[in-house]
Symmetry: C2
Subunit: 309 residues, 2 copies
DNA sequence: CGGGCCATGTGAAGAAACCTCACAGAGACC
DNA sequence: GGTCTCTGTGAGGTTTCTTCACATGGCCCG
């Protein structure tokens, strides 16, 4: 008689967070619980569905294809729920609202936020994740972080402050890579794309001074950057990963970048209202500049603009 | 640090079910819990959000506008989750799959299903709710229920069996209605539409031999029939309601139909595969015919084809 | 107008789910 | 081999959810 037979919702939420972060420990942090709780929830979900959602050794867990598919559907569903749920007005002072690309927030900004809080404990920060355009006034945004082509630093209603260069390169699971892999080999692998930045491959090729990329073995498109990167980690193919997004996964060995990284045609910029940028927003911008300057640069590209071996 | 601050998910599920059914008791039945549990969940959700989601006396509860907005967003989100969640294969015999319009399922078919089960306990039935086209083989559908214009009883791949006539008329909350209300008064009210049947008003006007409807005070469109009807019950305006869908709400007084009902240009039909319709599907079709014949007809239309007073 | 009916609100107690703590196992890296 | 990181798990406590039974309040009908 039940119209729907939904899996346990809390387990779905836990798995969705795991899907985005790629590690239970991080998902647990987001949900404000211990890693054990997340482990149990995901286990419960797998039992309920009768499908393996994770695979690999405990120390380097990845999603199965079924898991990736489920997580990709869950993220927009929960986003929709979050967007539709009115929030009661907070008691404290209005936080500084920073609009940011979701993956940049997760992989770069949020891990560094405690540093900002340490220097400016009086400024509460709220990160609003968004890919698209925004309006300072209508959306209550104080500062936005976006990608901008180099040179395109003019805007009618915002001041553009580049604070970090953008390097990118092909990344994949260690099992797919070989020592001394060359360009042709990489291009022969299945390619992974993200809908939020479909030009990634052509942009990267342009940086290599390669006009036309050969057709790939296959292509697969994802709705979000982080799912594309998780798919790469799961061994489904090769993705163009921005240095800032994959730095930690490279360090931990979940991903490798056999061709290294090259500078992209964009920079990561902070946007502030052209007039009346609040002191708090300017303080945040200054902190971004300092953090950008102290972020390590990628290793020397193993494959420079001459291409191939 | 939490990326999202989602309300309690189980409370959202309870409220979503309440939103579709319009009554806690029915929602509780769907969720296989008692009405008290649903009542508490919704109360918890209202406390969490700090927003009233329901209003009106206990015996005739309705959603507030905020509640309607939330419920409308939750339904597709949960649908998406349900669609993405793989289900383990059931143990028992393959059930008879009946594809049906969601609102017809909820308001007419499901309340009568126990009657079918009583006569045919050996045939398990699964109701698959769907608005769109379907494929008997690809979707595993044994029988489908759809609306069909009268006379359009031919089909390449299915046998069409009309089993119930379609009557419709404007319905609204009792507070919006007056005794002796006439056509002009009804047409002056805010109009409610549903995306799944946008022609409802023009179809109804055609039945009245009225060529052009005057522009309404305002229009509001909903994604589902049942939300449009809930909006009508909440007093947001007037909707064209099919007799089969609103019969129970009229009986209970949640809705009134001051102009009565007139025959529509469609009939409700059962579709079975043109060849190899299983005996189980035919048994179900026969049962539909009997149920359709025994469904009471609407009261005499207070407003016939001459229109107005 | 009073009794019956229906649907929801609620107190208290029991049931279920969840979380934490602490430790174990398993790779990875040096 | 030692150490670090991350996940799996047993036991036990805590919170949350449900149920049952009854109360409340509106509607209908005679």
């Amino acid at each position: 008689m039940a119209r729907r037979q939904l899996p346990p919702l809390n387990a779905l939420r836990a798995f969705e967070a795991f899907g985005r972060h790629g590690r239970m420990t991080l998902a647990a942090e987001e949900l404000c619980v211990t890693h054990g709780a997340v482990s149990r929830q995901i286990r419960q979900l797998e039992d309920h569905l009768g499908v393996a959602l994770t695979e690999g050794p405990r120390s380097r867990l990845r999603m199965t294809e079924a898991g990736l598919k489920l997580a990709q559907a869950l993220t927009p569903a929960f986003d929709q729920i979050a967007a539709a749920s009115p929030r009661r007005a907070p008691d404290g002072p209005r936080p500084l609202v920073v609009s940011c690309l979701p993956t940049f927030a997760m992989k770069w900004l949020i891990p560094r936020l405690p540093g900002f809080q340490a220097t400016h404990p009086e400024i509460p920060v709220r990160v609003a994740e968004s890919n698209g355009p925004f309006d300072f006034k209508a959306d209550g945004v104080d500062l936005a972080i976006r990608m901008r082509p180099i040179g395109d630093d003019r805007s009618d209603d915002s001041e553009v402050t580049p604070f970090m260069d953008h390097f990118h390169g092909p990344v994949m699971a260690p099992e797919r890579a070989r020592a001394g892999m060359d360009l042709a080999e990489v291009l022969a692998l299945p390619r992974l794309l993200t809908r939020t930045f479909v030009e990634s491959w052509s942009d990267w090729a342009l940086g290599l001074a390669v006009e036309d990329l050969p057709a790939p073995a296959s292509e697969q498109e994802f709705d979000h950057y982080f799912y594309m990167l998780e798919a790469a980690a799961a061994g489904l193919g090769v993705a163009i990963g921005p240095w800032a997004f994959v730095q930690r996964d490279l360090a931990s060995g979940r991903l490798v970048a056999p061709l290294g990284f090259i500078p992209g045609r964009s920079r990561i910029v902070a946007l502030t209202p052209i007039e009346g940028g609040s002191p708090r927003a300017l303080a945040f911008r200054d902190w971004l500049l300092a953090e950008g300057a102290s972020t390590p640069l990628p290793p020397q590209a193993a494959c420079d603009s001459r291409g191939g071996r």
